[in-house]
């Protein structure tokens, strides 16, 4: 029996009631990304009963589904049609939903080459802080009518409204996929990656774990084979990338706090206290460290990046410059004037 259900009217009622009573809401899907941001109080709004793929036509490269749809269900439908979510979103739990994927905006190993979650958002339906269910964007690839409210929702952690439905651009799965392991130090790996990045090589993932560089090649038979011959190394099981994306590699077992460092492409090796794991060809680095948050942030700011704490704790989001924060507040005030949507999840006064 299908579990698909449209409960958008019930969700709208719950939001309107919260607006009426002035009670903050705590939006939750699979609760798989709860470690991110600040813990929330507020009345639970569970999206998981609002589920199901609304439309999917592989030849249009567009899938539309309700926010509470399990991510695994969406990926299964795509897989069956030979397609995929190119941004490879981390689930971080069995129950991860589409709404959570978009609200958290996290992207997997293919991010530097294929783009982020927000890059694939085409349209959304949103319940707003004025108690309306509205539609932005659409189901077409190109659409510049009005402000891009849909992409603004990606990564906003539910602080600007309740996502009820999302349309995504999807792509065919590459014909060939081959993973390689090349033993080398971190320094050398970063130098090689900076060089390869300027060449039309079919690299679609690159990670370094301290001992070796892990590469994934994706494309047609010809390009993958010739790149594999050129790069050398030993062939690796492709499941590695899923374990990396889901933080299941041994590196993540360390009990020290986990930091995500986002740094400019081609940033050199960073000497930081603790253990490091490089993803995104070095543009995303994981750090296990007990060093003071201020010290870590200081080091990362210096290279033009930012650090997010992935272990539950206060002030996990990187601080914003004052002027930027002022406009964030103004936007929150305009879109959620009563502050009912996930107040404080990202920053104390948003």
């Amino acid at each position: 029996m299908s579990m698909d259900r449209d409960i958008s009217q019930a969700l709208l009622e719950q939001v309107n009631q919260a607006l009426h009573q002035g009670t903050p809401l705590r939006i939750q899907g699979g609760n798989s990304k709860a470690m991110l941001g600040n813990p929330l109080a507020g009345e639970l709004l569970d999206t998981r009963s609002h589920r199901g793929i609304v439309s999917y036509d592989p030849t249009e490269l567009v899938l539309t589904a309700r926010a509470g749809t399990p991510l695994r269900e969406i990926e299964a439908a795509l897989h069956e049609a030979g397609q995929m979510l190119p941004c490879e979103p981390p689930h971080l739990g069995h129950e991860a939903t589409l709404g959570g994927m978009v609200a958290a905006g996290l992207s997997g190993p293919r991010r530097p080459w294929a783009g982020s979650v927000r890059d694939y958002v085409l349209g959304t339906r949103v319940i707003t802080g004025h108690g309306k269910l509205l539609r932005f964007g659409g189901e077409v690839m190109k659409n510049v009518a009005g402000y891009d409210v849909s992409r603004l929702m990606a990564g906003s952690f539910g602080c600007l409204g309740l996502l009820t439905e999302v349309s995504l651009k999807v792509l065919p799965r590459p014909r060939q996929c081959l993973s390689l392991r090349l033993p080398m130090g971190r320094h050398q790996a970063l130098a090689e990656l900076a060089e390869w990045g300027q060449q039309p090589l079919p690299i679609s993932a690159a990670c370094h774990d301290g001992d070796a560089l892990y590469l994934r090649l994706e494309g047609g038979e010809g390009s993958v084979q010739s790149a594999a011959r050129r790069l050398g190394g030993e062939v690796l099981d492709g499941g590695f990338w899923r374990d990396l994306r889901e933080q299941r590699l041994a590196f993540f077992d360390d009990p020290a706090p986990l930091w995500r460092l986002s740094v400019p492409v081609a940033t050199g090796d960073l000497d930081l206290p603790g253990q490091q794991l490089l993803d995104w060809a070095g543009a995303q680095r994981w750090l296990k460290s007990t060093a003071a948050p201020g010290d870590i942030r200081h080091d990362i700011d210096k290279v033009g990046g930012h650090a997010t704490l992935y272990t539950p704790g206060p002030a996990s989001s990187p601080p914003l410059p004052d002027a930027l924060m002022r406009y964030h507040r103004a936007l929150k005030q305009q879109l959620d004037p009563q502050g009912v949507f996930n107040p404080g999840r990202l920053y104390p006064d948003l």
């Binding site: 077409v140 402000y147 990045g197 039309p200 010809g222 400019p264 492409v265 103004a330 936007l331 879109l335």
Partner: protein, 499 residues
């Protein structure tokens, strides 16, 4: 003509005394070049949408960031509207001036500040031309992917403001997908950096929000774009079809086979003949439609995909499939398409370019609808289509010197856009709303959605001084001129019955 700013429906604008404002600007910014004589202002009265003209109150031509900042502060303080303009190539009237506003021309900011091959980015001022970025990156084997047809003239600031596209969007994305960071000045003269040198940045995704916001939220002062390695090879196939439906089906078949072409363009017979007459690209002038399919990437893959696509095209009913035999022929095939607008322009004193997007499966129905509308309004329409991503450019041929023709062309254009919305598409894929499609916004969005857009605007520009009247219509305008609203997939209007 209900396109020009009308204070009755678009909102009252503060009355500004030109002389007093000129004096105030000169006092504050003695070295800022300001145009104020009628004959100097005249050349700035329109952008690429030349059917609509308004002479601005003043034109400011700053060369330094501090001048822009001081000008914005002064305008904010005195309540003077500011319309930003880059190269002025926009096709939707996004830089159409206001008689009561300053036109802020950013064209003199044309320095390429940094090309970083290792980091694969270029940091440029907003007046730098789109093509100049790729030229500066070329020695490193890199390029900037979005390539609007106006790329030799249009500037990157305008590209960001409009979220410009081009013929390679399906594979390489729009402007929004190729940006790292944008520096802006708010109307208060506050400097903000949106995005970062890293692949993401903390807080809300204001970079995405500002991209395509048409100068309504802030003034772009610097842009950092991502550069990509140039594909090793690019090959183009030209397929002829006896029916537009077959050509449409061929597009679906190519994508269903898991192939994402670098470019996939369709032209109908009128567009083919116009282009052939102008460029002599070797197009089949008797075909009902042609498809141009470009495959790019690594040599071996492109070779294999060419063979696959050629077979798919033949299976879909192509009467002829040709692979450009060399780079010269490839460039010629593309020249026909890239010059389709001016080519059509030679067939008619004036033409009006539409920019709707549709789900591709609706193509036959929409083309039939356009053909019926064309007959009904007595104006010819040539169709050029970014087939891969569903972005249509119907070109309406008319003669503005014949009484009533412009109005008929506008009415026909409006109907075409409403048809796009009715089949689940959008009134604009890449040219922007500007002033041109302001009434059609009321067909795509309901009053609550439009109210929310105004709320977004209010977060950054509560007084509504930046580019007033563009992009988002007032509810008053929708009540007066807005077409019947199409919503939730219902297709209410009677025109559809005839399709």
């Amino acid at each position: 003509m209900n396109i020009l700013y009308d204070e009755r429906v678009d909102g009252a604008l503060p009355a500004v005394d030109q002389t007093a404002l000129l004096h105030a600007l000169r006092d504050a910014l003695p070295d800022l070049e300001i145009l104020y004589r009628q004959e100097d202002l005249k050349p700035y009265e329109c952008d690429g949408l030349s059917a609509y003209r308004t002479v601005p109150l003043l034109v400011a031509l700053p060369e330094r960031l501090e001048q822009v900042q001081a000008l914005l502060r002064l305008c904010h303080q005195r309540g003077v509207p500011v319309v930003a303009r880059g190269a002025g190539t926009g096709l939707s009237g996004g830089a159409l001036p206001l008689a009561k506003g300053i036109l802020l021309v950013m064209a003199r900011f044309k320095r390429i500040l940094e090309v970083n091959p290792q980091g694969r980015f270029a940091r440029v001022q907003p007046g730098v031309r789109n093509l100049a970025i790729s030229q500066a990156a070329a020695p490193h084997g890199l390029y900037y992917a979005p390539d609007p047809s106006s790329q030799i003239a249009c500037s990157i600031g305008g590209n960001v403001a409009e979220n410009a596209g081009g013929v390679h969007c399906l594979k390489y994305g729009l402007t929004v997908h190729n940006l790292l960071k944008v520096d802006i000045l708010t109307i208060e003269g506050e400097r903000l950096t949106l995005g970062s040198d890293a692949l993401d940045s903390p807080g809300f995704d204001l970079l995405a929000l500002f991209t395509g916001s048409e100068g309504m939220l802030g003034i772009i002062t610097e842009v950092t774009v991502r550069l990509l390695p140039k594909p090793q090879v690019a090959r183009v196939l030209l397929a002829s079809f006896d029916s537009v439906e077959d050509a449409g089906r061929a597009v679906a078949e190519i994508i269903a086979a898991g192939i994402i072409p670098g470019g996939l363009e369709m032209m109908d017979n009128l567009a083919i003949r116009a282009a052939e007459d102008f460029i002599h690209a070797g197009y089949p002038v008797h075909a009902a439609a042609i498809l141009l399919c470009e495959l790019d990437g690594v040599e071996a893959d492109v070779h294999d995909d060419c063979a696959r696509v050629a077979e798919l095209l033949a299976q879909a009913g192509a009467s002829d499939v040709r692979l450009a035999c060399d780079e010269a022929e490839r460039m010629r095939f593309w020249a026909g398409r890239k010059n389709a607008f001016p080519a059509v322009g030679r067939m008619s004193p004036d033409y009006y370019c539409m920019d709707g997007t549709i789900p591709r499966r609706e193509l036959p129905r929409v083309l039939k609808g356009i053909s019926d509308l064309s007959t009904h309004y007595g104006l010819r329409v040539a169709n050029v289509f970014h087939a891969g991503d569903g972005n249509m450019h119907p070109l309406i041929l008319f003669d503005a010197n014949l009484p009533g023709e412009l109005e008929r062309a506008e009415a026909l254009g409006g109907k075409i856009l409403e048809l796009c919305v009715a089949v689940g598409g959008s009134i604009t894929g890449e040219h922007g709303v500007g002033r041109e499609k302001i009434n059609q916004m009321c067909a795509q969005f309901n009053s609550d959605e439009i109210t929310l857009f105004h709320a977004v605007k209010a977060a950054f520009d509560p007084q509504g001084l930046l580019n007033p009247g563009k992009n988002i219509p007032t509810l008053h305008r929708c009540a007066e001129f807005g077409a019947m609203h199409v919503h939730h997939g219902q297709l209410p209007f009677p025109d559809l019955e005839r399709f």
